[in-house]
């Protein structure tokens, strides 16, 4: 994004202000900005894309309804991720007593599109030097290793190391102290090292 384009792009704070003024199109812009990140965080916490999409939708609906409760409009992102994280961590418990599961098949690319994506990835990997190939394989194994981490460690690592949310924001999202976040991240790294020893 060029400097001019960046200057013309409204900030989160401005979009929140417009949404509060009744302009739903402003919230549409916020959805565009954060839906990938929200889905990504939820997906890594739940390990299931369908569940992650359901959580993502619910998080945005709750954010919209509770927008007046956001004290600092400029911190919409961390605030939204907090909603996503809480919904994800409580998802299985709430699902057990909740209503029928929503279908998000229409939001998941069909088999042909996914096959094309895999073909493109395979073509790319065949051109890669050995080191990159190893890194790629490591990345693949990483997903399953993440799923084996305890919930708090996984949440802290996903938010801090993958989504690169600042530690103090991670602490706020998870309702922990910064020291606790550091500890969980350390333990998660240590565990991943054990799980991925064969690929390192």
């Amino acid at each position: 994004m060029t400097a001019t384009a960046a200057a013309l792009t409204p900030s989160d704070e401005e979009l929140v202000r417009r949404t509060r003024a009744g302009r739903l199109s402003a919230f549409d812009e916020l959805v565009e900005r954060y839906q990938r990140r929200a889905t990504s965080v939820s997906y890594r916490l739940l390990g299931n894309l369908h569940d992650a999409l359901e959580v993502c939708q619910e998080a945005f609906v709750r954010a919209y309804r509770g927008l007046d409760g956001l004290d600092d409009a400029g911190r919409f992102g961390p605030w939204l991720l907090r909603i996503v994280t809480n919904l994800s961590l409580n998802y299985r418990r709430d699902r057990a007593v909740g209503g029928p599961k929503l279908s998000f098949e229409d939001c998941i690319l069909d088999g042909d599109a996914r096959r094309e994506e895999r073909v493109a990835l395979a073509a790319h990997s065949s051109e890669m030097p050995g080191a990159e190939l190893a890194a790629d394989e490591l990345a693949e194994r990483l997903e399953s290793a993440l799923a084996r981490l305890p919930q708090q460690q996984r949440a802290a690592l996903v938010l801090f190391s993958i989504e690169q949310v600042p530690q103090k924001d991670v602490a706020e999202i998870l309702g922990l102290s910064i020291e606790a976040v550091k500890w969980h991240v350390f333990q998660a790294r240590k565990k991943l090292k054990e799980l991925l020893a064969d690929y390192l």
């Binding site: 894309l49 993502c56 945005f60 609906v61 919209y64 890194a135 690592l157 390192l200």
Partner: protein, 227 residues
Amino acid sequence: MNRETFEQLVSQWLDNPADDHLRRRVEQAISDSPELLSDRRHAELIEQALHAARAKGPAGVDWRRLRSRIMSQLRHADAAPARDDARLDELLARPTRLEARIDWTRFQQRVSQRVAEAARMRVVTLRLRRVGAVAGMLATAAALVVVALLLRERPAAPEGFAQVRVVDASASAQPAPPSAFASVRVSRPAGGAVEPVRPAEPEFFLYIGPAGGVDASASAGVGETGA
């Protein structure tokens, strides 16, 4: 430096990769213990993989459709309260199936009868209550009169003489006609308020001695017994 401590140091450094002080400490630890080099390398590889995972994101999502769906849900949620009210009003206005099953004319007659009965019962009840109230007042008044009479102060025994009968107190004898009479002077203590007088005993019993003739005009003190 042991492996556990080194791993914590590396983790701190990975939290703040721009921190030169931490980087130098890591390098110093490796120079002291070269076997720790592989531990740092493994930690870096994992951290790079984690960073790269962000760029990948979950694959196979139609983001445009997801966004459209979310906004549709919001518009639906926005309109929901007003729509719910309208739906509720419509529901309330709709005649229920229950109405078709009731003979409303007969029902109205039954209700009217019950209301009339209730009205009559109410009149009777009111009358009984009035009678009861009057009877209660009369009974209260009568009780007050009786209590007043009972609590009236008894006059003290006048000064003077009380008749005393002397009887033979032997156990074998039935109460025998008195063999003598005596008089006992009753007097009040001098001055001050008079204490309430106990009702006098109906008879004073004085054992004077074997029956043999006693001068009836002789006076004796109260409680005095003879041999």
